[in-house]
């Protein structure tokens, strides 16, 4: 198996030259294999948000290297960075981040319009992805007119339509009720298993984490523990995670 993400000796220190420094990430190393569904868990202040920001190219590490699909993202600047975001990563956020003045359809089509794809092809691809995510009926609606679960599916459709190398999720179920959350996680599992989409999820919710194949626990800026689901069913894995959190956090 080849790795889609490789994080090597990543360190992140906040604070300007003469200010007191805060070390958010000390020395983080891990890899994500192609087609993997991986979760990163940690309490508030553990450094998981910093890690996600670095992976999603919103922030840069102080030192170390991050390779995504072969690109060293710490060295990307300007248009190359924008193009990398457009082609290589898909992103779903806790608060959906849909553009409220565009319809669902326009939201999903936007990343392809940016690539100057033929409008006919865009339309066809939007229809395809919305079928897959069961949102065909709400394409003409505005985000304000649909439910949280539907919004997150629309966001997922927008993230996936460019066929990114990896889908990054930042607490994607955080704003959803439990049944919508379950539905979304099932969909993500499907996408991962059937379409072999690599997914990296950052969460502190054990239920969401239990859908992953592997979980990395982060604490005080280092990855302290790794848990693999192997052939466990989801419920057992969930309990295992709960136990792990108990011992890891204390």
């Amino acid at each position: 198996m080849t790795s889609i993400v490789a994080v090597q000796q990543v360190k992140k220190v906040y604070g300007k030259v003469h200010e007191e420094k805060t070390v958010a990430l000390k020395d983080v190393n891990f890899q994500v294999e192609t087609g993997e569904f991986i979760g990163i868990m940690g309490a508030s202040g553990s450094g998981k948000s910093t890690l996600l920001n670095i992976l999603s190219t919103i922030d840069r590490p102080t030192s170390g290297q991050v390779l995504i699909n072969g690109y060293d993202i710490t060295k990307l600047r300007g248009n190359k960075l924008s193009d990398f975001r457009a082609h290589q990563i898909g992103f779903i956020f806790q608060d959906f981040n849909l553009l409220e003045d565009l319809t669902v359809e326009e939201n999903i089509a936007l990343p392809l319009s940016l690539q100057e794809m033929n409008p006919k092809r865009i339309k066809a691809l939007v229809i395809l992805i919305s079928k897959k995510l069961s949102i065909s009926s709400i394409l003409k609606k505005y985000p304000a007119e649909i439910s949280g679960g539907q919004k997150q599916r629309a966001a997922a459709a927008r993230a996936l339509i460019t066929k990114p190398a990896i889908l990054l999720g930042d607490e994607p179920t955080g704003s959803l009720d439990s049944s919508s959350a379950r539905e979304l996680l099932n969909t993500m599992t499907n996408l991962n298993q059937k379409d072999k989409i690599s997914i990296l999820l950052v969460t502190h919710d054990p239920v969401s984490a239990s859908f992953c194949q592997r979980i990395l626990f982060i604490k005080d800026g280092v990855i302290g523990k790794e848990l693999r689901r192997n052939n466990l069913d989801r419920i057992s894995f969930y309990h295992q995670i709960l136990n792990e959190i108990e011992s890891f956090e204390s």
């Binding site: 248009n79 924008s82 975001r85 089509a109």
Partner: protein, 612 residues
Amino acid sequence: MKLKVLKANGEKMTLKLALSGLKNHLKDYFILFSGLTISAAIFYMFQTLAANPLFLKSNTYLLSIVVIFNLGTFLLAIITFAYLNYANNFLINLRSRIYAMYLMLGAKSRKIAQLIFLETIVIGLLAVLAGIVCGIILTQLISRLLIRQLDLSLIHYSPWNNQAILVTLIFFLVIFVFFALKNARKLVYTPILKLLNQEKTPVRAHKNPLLWGGEIIAGIVLLAIGYWALAHLDILNIKGIFVAIITIVSGSYFVFDSLFLAIVQNLQHRPNFALKRLHSFTLGQLNFRLRDLTKLLAMISIMFALALGAITAGIGFHRDIATITNVCSDYDFILHDPSTRELDQVNNLKLTDTSVYHYKVASNKVYWLVDDFDLKPFNYVIPNGSFNPIKYSHVTGKQMLKDKNKWLSILQSYLGDASTILPGGFLPKKEFQTKTGKEHTINLYVLKNFMAEKNQIKPLVLADNKKIKLDVNRDSTQKYNIFFVINGMLSGFEFMGLFLGIAFLAMLASCLMFKILSGANNDMHRYQILKQIGTRHQLLEYSIAQEIGTIFLLPALLGIVHVLFGLQMFKVTTLIHEPYKNLIIPIGIFLVLYAFYYLITDFIYQKKVLRK
């Protein structure tokens, strides 16, 4: 005792909180404050004209000028109110979140209401004072500039005007008290949760297609009626102005509310356009923006037309000064018995033609050498106040002899104080030479460009006026004297046109700028999202430039249409000769200034929303 200390501490705390809010949003407050100051300055500038009937009446020959200016004040008051309303919303958006937080921390709502009331009044008062000071300085600068550049002669005009100060102060204070009460009320009665989450989520408004179509038609018909009224102002008089204002204002509103929206939505449904780059986003923004801005944009298009119309009229009057002056005489200046020094000065001018006629005065009678006129035929214009006076061209001596008395009296008028000398006759060369009496010459010159060289010939003409005892205000043979009279008559109009045009332009453009900038905080989030999904920075800049550009462009387009039809008004009332001539110049000047505002808005907006 303890309670008192606590209370005092509490008040100190509230003040501290209020000030802390100020510090965090210094840039926003700067935009707010400068916006308010500009509006107060412009209002004041307008009032220095409108609140000065003495100036208005002594600088124009139009009786209804005071009514027109009152109408202008009314329009300016409306737009200023709209402008202050936007500014106030901007303030409330800045503050509501932080005040809601204080409320959650247990601050008393009455106290918070007092605080926002005070804050609004203080900001308003400071801004209006600063505005009046700016207004005085700007009025001084602009009037000096205009007077120097355009040879304007203004009577009873001063940048400092007590009544204007008073009117501006009262008008702004009343509005600010109103807004202060409104703000205080809003903070007390709005649920905290709503205050905390002010972000607007656009909701789709459904429009009945039939009504929509009806609105488009109504808008166009209303505009047509308004334009028709302006083109028939010679029959309708002041009624026509009222009809035009009502129909054009409502027509513009309908057009913005329906036609432009229809165009945007039509574009949204064209995949080949909408699905290119950021088009769908830009159109989506415009779709919601236009709804939000309908009233403002309609008002701006009217203001745009008024401002552009005023500048066009100002330039038209300026041109008329030259046109009327130029048609009044074929000769640009005349010298009687010029000295060698004067002739030297004349040689330095750019002349295209010189005629010299000799005459002798014997026993109080004037005798002309008729051969001079055969050699160099004479041109004569009878000024009749119109642009097409009666002209006699190339009149030779032979022709003059046919109608001797007429030409003798015409030529007599070129000799100034006629009380001491009388017309004598035309003499051929031989007789002229033998005739006793003092010989004189009269030199008539044609310049390459009178308006360009009028200042050089001024001392020559003034000396000549003195020499032959001419009254500047009555003489119609010296072109410079005619210019002097016409300039005095029309430059008041010219000044008002240009001044109003610039003031209105500054107001409308600031208004638009303010409204757009006040939405920037809400938009920031959207641009963050676009960045995250991989939109290139240039594309974001381009999209913003397009969106703001459209919002600036639409009212400008409609405004220009208003002006194109509105200028009929000057044509039918013959107030300006050829109002459409060189229209590209005022439109060009205006668009350059307007574009400047657009660029500033675009720049500040980009700085705000694309912050790294």
